[in-house]
Assembly symmetry: C2
Homo-oligomer: 224 residues x 2
């Protein structure tokens, strides 16, 4: 028995090690797991096999087992996944239980659309204030010039930026100094973080449209 425990100990250490650095592709799939699990919960499904989850998500069951194993053992042999537990765990991994507050720097159409997406409607992330844009809902609105004075007290960690590319790049050091650690970039231009601790997600809204154009073109070619 002792040897088995020792071996198990080694496995757990490896698991712990892997848990600190999941692959980029596994991380990319987490929002998708979160979305499907939230839907299962809302449908009242409390237990699901990796095979059934895989079928719904259009991936392989082994892919799911592999992805989720990186973050710990969620499934039980012969039982499948406990949906509520798995949803909670993935919410936690995604940082949604930390109650991140989000500020909007500029308020463009994309930012407005984001505000009516499930993550904000459900309150997984909290819209806290607008700087340099029109007020939306109950959020207070400030001018860009008030950022240094007002932003630190708001306690936001994420900023959604929809200014011009130049103005957006110029305000990043101020955002970093005021506690912003993550930036969602809606400027259509690559932004460079002012330091290593700031994370940036550059969003190109027209990319899926270009892919559609490719796919439609490709199927027309096949018909020739």
């Amino acid at each position: 028995m002792k040897r088995i425990d020792q071996v198990k100990g080694t496995f757990d250490q490896n698991k712990e090690k892997r848990r600190t650095a999941p692959s980029a592709s596994t991380v990319k799939r987490l929002p998708r797991y979160h979305r499907y699990l939230a839907r299962l919960l809302s449908e009242g499904t409390l237990r699901i096999s990796s095979t059934a989850l895989a079928e719904r998500m259009h991936v392989t069951a082994s892919q799911i087992r592999q992805d989720l194993a990186v973050f710990g053992d969620f499934g039980q042999q012969g039982y499948g996944y406990n949906v509520r537990y798995l949803h909670h765990k993935i919410s936690r991994i995604l940082g949604l239980t930390a109650g991140h507050r989000v500020v909007f720097i500029g308020m463009g159409d994309a930012a407005r659309a984001l505000l009516s997406s499930p993550v904000f409607v459900r309150g997984d992330l909290q819209a806290a204030a607008v700087f340099g844009g029109d007020a939306v809902g109950e959020m207070p609105a400030y001018s860009l010039a008030d950022m240094e004075r007002e932003l630190p007290a708001i306690g936001a960690t994420i900023a959604v930026v929809s200014l011009s590319a130049e103005a957006a790049q110029a305000c990043l050091p101020t955002l970093a100094a005021c506690g912003i650690r993550g930036v969602l970039n809606y400027t259509h231009t690559h932004l460079t973080p002012p330091d290593e601790t700031m994370k940036i997600q550059n969003v190109y809204l027209d990319e899926p449209c270009l892919l559609l154009s490719y796919q439609v073109g490709a199927s027309e070619e096949n018909e020739d």
Copy 2:
């Protein structure tokens, strides 16, 4: 010499074969190549080595050579890539030279944001009409009930859908019957194509926000 030609012939056949089915990950990178090449062109850069292009795009040079080789030989040994030629070729591969017309079914904030993205501003894709939503710019606006009558004559191949999930799913057969081959889905819910020839891009605007939440959470954990 003959043998070399024969060998070359074999290579070309393989190339042709691969050209019909590039990998999904290569295709996903094409909009990015298109974006960077458009920027290089606007800066007046007419020639670039794969190494320099790789540096700008934050990928490896061998990745670039491999991606572009799938669609044909764009680079010349010792010269690099001709930016204008490569931009034109990728535009063509992406179907942008086909002059796709795009209709908007419903007009939400996301669709409005898309209309001000580079692909529409530059005219790579043409916004043609709105059904069931407010008119934007010079596009004519029709009611949803007029779709069957008006849509075929517009000659659109792509539709951007921002209705409720149920209404969106219900209108897909009509869209298909009226010539729509690709659908950009802004409903926050997975849509299923009514037949194999219709392509759907399901867009989840909050996904990059969840990834930021993950990244910010992860860096906080590292500090503990």
